[in-house]
């Protein structure tokens, strides 16, 4: 697992209060991890903070799974 993936999963576990085992790359924040729309807004803000990236709203809307988050952050870090 890449360093980014590990960090993303840790943030998800902390913010959504879910079991680490549930946070697979395919897991959807809303459908699988019990998040609501405000939780996802907060989660994206936490990613921005942790990785020093800016995630515009239209990009944030497309980040619905753990995998989406990792891919977006890695693409920004180039």
């Amino acid at each position: 697992m890449s360093e980014t993936a590990e960090k993303v999963k840790k943030i998800v576990v902390e913010h959504l209060g879910v079991d680490e085992a549930k946070v697979t790359e395919d897991a959807s924040f809303i459908d699988d991890l019990g998040a609501d729309s405000l939780d996802t807004v907060e989660l994206v803000m936490a990613f921005e903070e942790a990785f020093g990236v800016e995630i515009p709203d239209d990009a944030a809307e497309k980040i619905t799974t753990v995998k989406d988050a990792i891919a977006y952050i890695e693409s920004q870090k180039g």
């Binding site: 209060g17 405000l38 907060e42 803000m45």
Partner: protein, 426 residues
Amino acid sequence: MFPNGAAPRRVVVTGMGIASPLGLGVEHVWRRLLAGESGISAIQSFDVKDLPAKIAGQVPAGTRETGGLDLNEWIPPKDQKKMDRFIQLAIVAAVEAVEDSGWLPEDEESRAATGVMIGSGIGGLTTIYDASQLVASGRAKRLSPFFIPSALINLASGHVSMRYGFKGPNHAVVTACATGVHALGDAARLIAFGDADVMVAGGAEAAVSELGMAGFCAARALCTAFNDRPAEASRPWSEDRDGFVMGEGAGVCVLEEYEHAKKRGAKIYAEVIGYGMSGDAHHITAPPDDGNGAYRSMRAALRSAGVTPEQVQYVNAHGTSTYADDVELGAVERLWGDAASGLAMSSTKSAIGHLLGAAGAVEGIFSILAIRDRVAPPTLNLEKPSRETPIDRVAKVAQERPIKVALSNSFGFGGTNASIVFRAAP
């Protein structure tokens, strides 16, 4: 307003919950209160060097079993950050009250007949302060999406309703330090009118923060002369009192229509028999010297209860440990007249401080317990009163008394007054 010309319905108290500076749990807090213990201590959770008042009544940490607060026992950690401390304290008191009442309906009809009315004087002050800091430092975009719902006063009622699926009236009172009594009284009326069969009602406050303390200091309302003797700081009616001591906490009651409670065999603590309100129309923070607002509020409560002053054995005073203590005392003396000598009146703020919007609810619970156990809780630190009175102010030591009816007062900034009357369980 009454359906089919029906009469108002009777309302009883079937559950109670407290989070206070004397700890968590109604029986635990009550025991400590009767023993004359104080919940006032030095503030350590934030820096008080710039504040003239350095003490407060703070909910002690601990476990539920030992009467202290460990939030993780009550609210999942991921949800804690979505709510200000006043909401957290409201939930703690509401959970105790609901569990105590045994009213945990599963069917939709019962849930729709159960409402929530938990108020607060100030609401999410710390949440607002923290968010303001972020915005002021040019980081508005970093504001949490939970900021607004964390600070809003009616979200205490909202969270409690979601926790239990209570889908009846969902309401919140905001009348400064009269909030708790208004919430109990208004909720009782909703039941009396048939809007709900059960109401989870009370008040919560968490303003023991740098901003909250500084604000009340600026209004010259807080005690500053007893920073080195916290347990002696809240001294209602004492000659040397010099302001109120800020406290935090929550009080919640389960109020229930009498027949509804009887039918399910609920334990009944007391009946809510009277409720009165008034406005001073006088000053933003001070009562008029003649206490006519307090007088009219109590008179209205007794009238609605259908009792005379002679029939009331205990008053839980607003008694904040300010000059206004004697204004309230004067109003009680006038209303009780010759019956004043048979009356016990104490201020339990002497032990827990002033819980602002939670005060009336917590003190309402103390009044109910005074009836249940036939005992008047003490007014701590009352050695040299600023003036004498025929009323027994239960100085320093609790007193066994034949209490059948009790009245509790709460008055708030803005000149708002509320009084509620309880009677022994029918």
